[in-house]
């Protein structure tokens, strides 16, 4: 036990603490670090230019999350509705791409979306003659890449509660006079929210801190925070500011996780409350 914990402490806790400390120092004239205490790196995070990138990241991550959840839930629902013996197979193949290299999966979208890629050729085949549409290096491409990369996880997360759902609950709802749609809205959806939440948090957290997808599929130089952090460390050589950005990223991530925990807590808290009321 001890060696593992020591390893994690030395190579994760200490370096992260170091980054936190770094964020309070000043950038040296020639790119080094000047060891004087300052808060200006955090002030800079709220500079309209950088705050804009945060908002942009949040918007892109949010959009990708929304799309991934809708598609992923639909797929998970269809898998859970398939014959039992097919379900593990379908699930396995839904998750398989997730285990091939992230860079390669992203690269596949370059192949697909570039000016002479498959999409353009398909358009031509359907009789399109104009200029090839510019799809690569757009926000849309980044979102597509993120959705593509994280969709399998959403499917997995949504499948778990869907497959555990007692099918008689949906039948009971129909029996009591609800249409299929009402049954979905009032019975199936509320009972599978935990899976949706887990999938959404995962996609959002991984998307907002993403570096590879915006770097390869995105247009601008700093489309998302990940690229900005990368740039501070490797190009601009402003490590303290990069550290402050990284900390801001961690804070956002923690906030999202906390929101999820509170929501889950409240759901179980309701039950406890009802119990004590009835007994009291």
């Amino acid at each position: 036990m001890a060696p593992a914990l020591a390893w994690l402490t030395a190579l994760m806790v200490v370096p992260c603490a170091l980054v936190l400390a770094l964020a309070f120092f000043r950038r040296g004239t020639y790119g080094g670090i000047e060891y004087t205490f300052t808060l200006e790196n955090f002030g800079l995070v709220f500079d309209p230019l950088y705050a804009g990138i945060f908002l942009n990241s949040a918007r892109i991550a949010g959009t990708a999350t929304l799309i991934a959840v809708v598609i992923g839930y639909a797929a998970a629902y269809a898998i859970a509705a398939a014959p039992r013996r097919l379900q593990p197979v379908l699930l396995f193949f839904a998750v398989l791409p997730f285990w091939s290299n992230y860079l390669i999966r992203t690269y596949a979208w370059i192949v697909l979306l570039n000016r002479e890629g498959l999409v353009t050729q398909l358009l031509r085949w359907f009789g399109y003659t104009g200029e090839p549409p510019s799809m690569l290096y757009t926000e849309g491409a980044v979102i597509a890449g993120l959705v593509y990369n994280y969709l399998p996880f959403v499917i997995l997360a949504c499948y778990a509660p869907l497959s555990r759902l007692n099918p008689e609950l949906a039948e009971a709802s129909r029996d009591l006079g609800a249409s299929a749609l009402t049954t979905f809205r009032r019975v199936i959806l509320p009972l599978t929210v935990p899976g949706i939440a887990a999938g959404a948090v995962f996609v959002f957290v991984l998307s907002i801190g993403n570096f590879v997808t915006p770097a390869l599929l995105g247009g601008g130089r700093f489309q998302m925070i990940g690229n900005l952090v990368y740039d501070q460390f490797l190009t601009a050589n402003d490590w303290p500011f990069g550290a402050a950005l990284a900390m801001a990223l961690i804070v956002i991530m923690l906030l999202v996780l906390m929101a999820q925990a509170i929501a889950a807590d409240r759901a179980s808290g309701h039950a406890a409350e009802a119990r004590s009321n009835a007994d009291g």
């Binding site: 994760m12 797929a75 014959p83 091939s100 290299n101 990284a246």
Partner: protein, 273 residues
């Protein structure tokens, strides 16, 4: 009382619903597999053009074997993945056993193990870069290995813990009662039971390590020193689309998918027990 009836299979739904559900599945699978399929298909494309099909050929695979940069990157990746997997499997398994045997689940401990799996890669990457450069450690394959063990250990630990949750510890007591030493008990009782999970965890770690790009990139001294395969691929992709990348990508994909399939098999074995 559990319903014994099977969960509303498609067969029991109206034909229209059934068709819609199959359509959804087909579209999702098309979305998931078409990009990969196009990539693999183009790796067999005779002509140099990345997009227009001009006949079947294995020449891009052949040309890979002559590319010394790629070969040395592949070798580096193999070293990093094997060493970090070995260390992480040992440490992660011991950690899992330590936690589950004593059943002390502290919040802090859980956070410590969970963190490497969810911290954004870029944050861990810059943290390690800062750490190594501040300590004036020369960066290279060894620092990548140190870094990869961090997250690999967490994943191995969680896979093994999942198996240990259903482990009946009284059988280790029975073994001790029958006169076995702690080490013998581990070797003859505990290990055989958790072995499939350990191997599955190791395969998972190996796959993650082979594929990992950004932490390796920073831990290697921001790409100035030892290059791993993902770093090499990243550099090539930035340069543009070439049939050679397609071939390389196809091979890498085949390797990691095989590793995953194996790990999945083993894990199913765990469930089946």
């Amino acid at each position: 009382m559990l319903p014994k009836r099977e969960a509303t299979p498609m067969a029991e739904r109206s034909p229209a619903t059934r068709r819609t559900l199959w359509l959804v599945l087909s579209l999702v699978f098309a979305f998931l597999y078409i990009p990969i399929a196009v990539l693999v298909a183009l790796s067999f494309n005779e002509g140099g053009l990345p997009t227009a099909w001009s006949g079947f050929s294995l020449k891009w695979y052949a040309s890979l074997t002559g590319n010394s940069e790629i070969l040395s990157a592949a070798l580096n990746t193999l070293i990093v993945a094997l060493v970090s997997t070995a260390i992480a499997t040992l440490l992660g398994t011991l950690l899992a056993i330590g936690i589950e045997m004593r059943r002390q689940y502290g919040k802090g401990l859980e956070a410590l193990i969970f963190a490497p799996m969810i911290i954004p890669d870029i944050v861990l990457a810059i943290a390690l870069l800062s750490f190594f450069s501040m300590l004036n450690i020369t960066m290279g394959l060894h620092t990548i290995i140190l870094a990869h063990v961090v997250f690999n250990l967490a994943f191995v630990c969680s896979v093994v813990r999942a198996r240990l949750k259903s482990f009946d510890w009284s059988i280790t007591e029975a073994s001790a009662d029958l006169g076995a030493s702690a080490l013998t008990t581990f070797r003859r009782v505990t290990l055989p039971v958790i072995l499939p999970a350990v191997v599955a965890g190791a395969l998972l770690a190996f796959t993650l390590s082979v594929d990992e790009f950004i932490i390796a990139f920073f831990a290697a001294g921001a790409g100035r020193a030892s290059t791993t395969l993902p770093m090499q691929i990243y550099a090539m992709i930035r340069f543009g689309i070439t049939p050679e990348i397609n071939a390389l990508a196809s091979i890498v994909m085949a390797v990691s998918i095989t590793a995953l399939t194996l790990s999945q098999r083993l894990n199913r074995g765990v469930i089946g027990q």
